[in-house]
Symmetry: C2
Subunit: 218 residues, 2 copies
């Protein structure tokens, strides 16, 4: 069957995916039936099943799209500095999230349950992409430490934290908010790379304002 | 009825709450029935209903516990510096999350749907606590900017980012992992407050390694 293009320029399949993404984001995958998807997109259920043989295949398309997008956001220019790569990663991710908040929401909301809905191969594909993203950010930090550009730090923990800070923004990022996605990326990466403390002596000698070793009781 | 204390020192109600939290975290609130909770805790359903008249009251207890805990983690010592407050907030939150990963997981996983399960008053209570936490972190950053301790920055965006980085750690934080919760708090707050770039000239003149204004195309 040839692709039917709808009035908004999306193919029927793309439109179906966009509508299902909104429904899953609002009601959860478990709380959305194929009937709801058919109603919302204005097709009969048989036509919906023509495009997607099961509800889980829609969910997988959402996951695959988000995972592939995130891997594509990795900035793999070998001549770039660690700080450039950290900034560009945040910028591309945030712009992408702002352009499809619901997809990011579904991705995180359904994450704990995907092994229930997906085949082993599907789960393995998603996990492999997630590992690629984590390892890329960790390796960028490690290379920055090795070259002397960055302070020695726990690249594992910071990669997880920075990815969480960036991807977690789907909770409050709004495409037409006070700040653009790019401005938010600048704020995040500047804070992480330059730090917030002005006074260089304070910054180097006492960044947390306390002696951490003695501070385990409260 | 007097509280029955079980062999592990928890009251029956606490035990019920802990078991339900684990089930909700693994299967989702929607996917867990009161029968499952009764089976898992080894009580009959009537006894479960004695403690919690509905499944949503269990979920609310989980939410209220997490929200109250997070507000209690705010460090409100007026003599503390902004950097001390930022560090202590992360430390208390991470230690608390490490002590009850499932509670944090339920809190985030069910977040988009709580208006379905909770009364308006219950939702308002949770939202008020969340607002208190956000405003506290934002105000700490604002006071740090005003006193000259911190660089000028977008305190709104950074408060949301820092809270997301910290709370989002429930996804990968493990109570007996390679790093303790306190060590992770030190990594996060050091990166944010001191920054990652070593060279002070680079750090101040070109923290992102690019001129941001010209960089809007790729």
């Amino acid at each position: 069957m040839s692709e039917t293009v709808t009035t908004n320029g999306m193919s029927r399949r793309e439109e179906l995916l966009a509508v299902a993404t909104k429904l899953f984001a609002a009601r959860g995958y478990h709380g959305t039936r194929m009937d709801d998807v058919a109603d919302a997109v204005g097709l009969n259920k048989a036509t919906v099943y023509h495009y997607y043989a099961s509800k889980s295949l829609i969910l997988y398309d959402i996951y695959k799209g988000a995972a592939d997008f995130t891997v594509d956001a990795l900035h793999d220019d070998p001549s770039a500095s660690a700080r450039e790569m950290i900034y560009h990663f945040a910028r591309r991710l945030l712009v992408g999230i702002a352009g499809n908040i619901e997809r990011a929401a579904v991705y995180f909301q359904e994450g704990p349950y995907i092994t229930e809905w997906f085949t082993e191969e599907q789960v393995a594909y998603i996990r492999e992409k997630e590992t690629q993203v984590y390892e890329h950010v960790r390796d960028v930090i490690d290379r920055g430490i090795a070259s002397g550009e960055l302070y020695d730090c726990d690249s594992h923990v910071l990669a997880l934290g920075y990815i969480g800070m960036t991807l977690g923004s789907y909770r409050w990022l709004r495409p037409h908010g006070r700040r653009t996605a790019q401005e938010i990326a600048v704020e995040f990466s500047t804070a992480l790379l330059r730090g917030l403390i002005r006074d260089d002596a304070v910054r180097q000698s006492s960044p947390l304002g306390v002696t951490v070793e003695a501070d385990t009781l409260t």
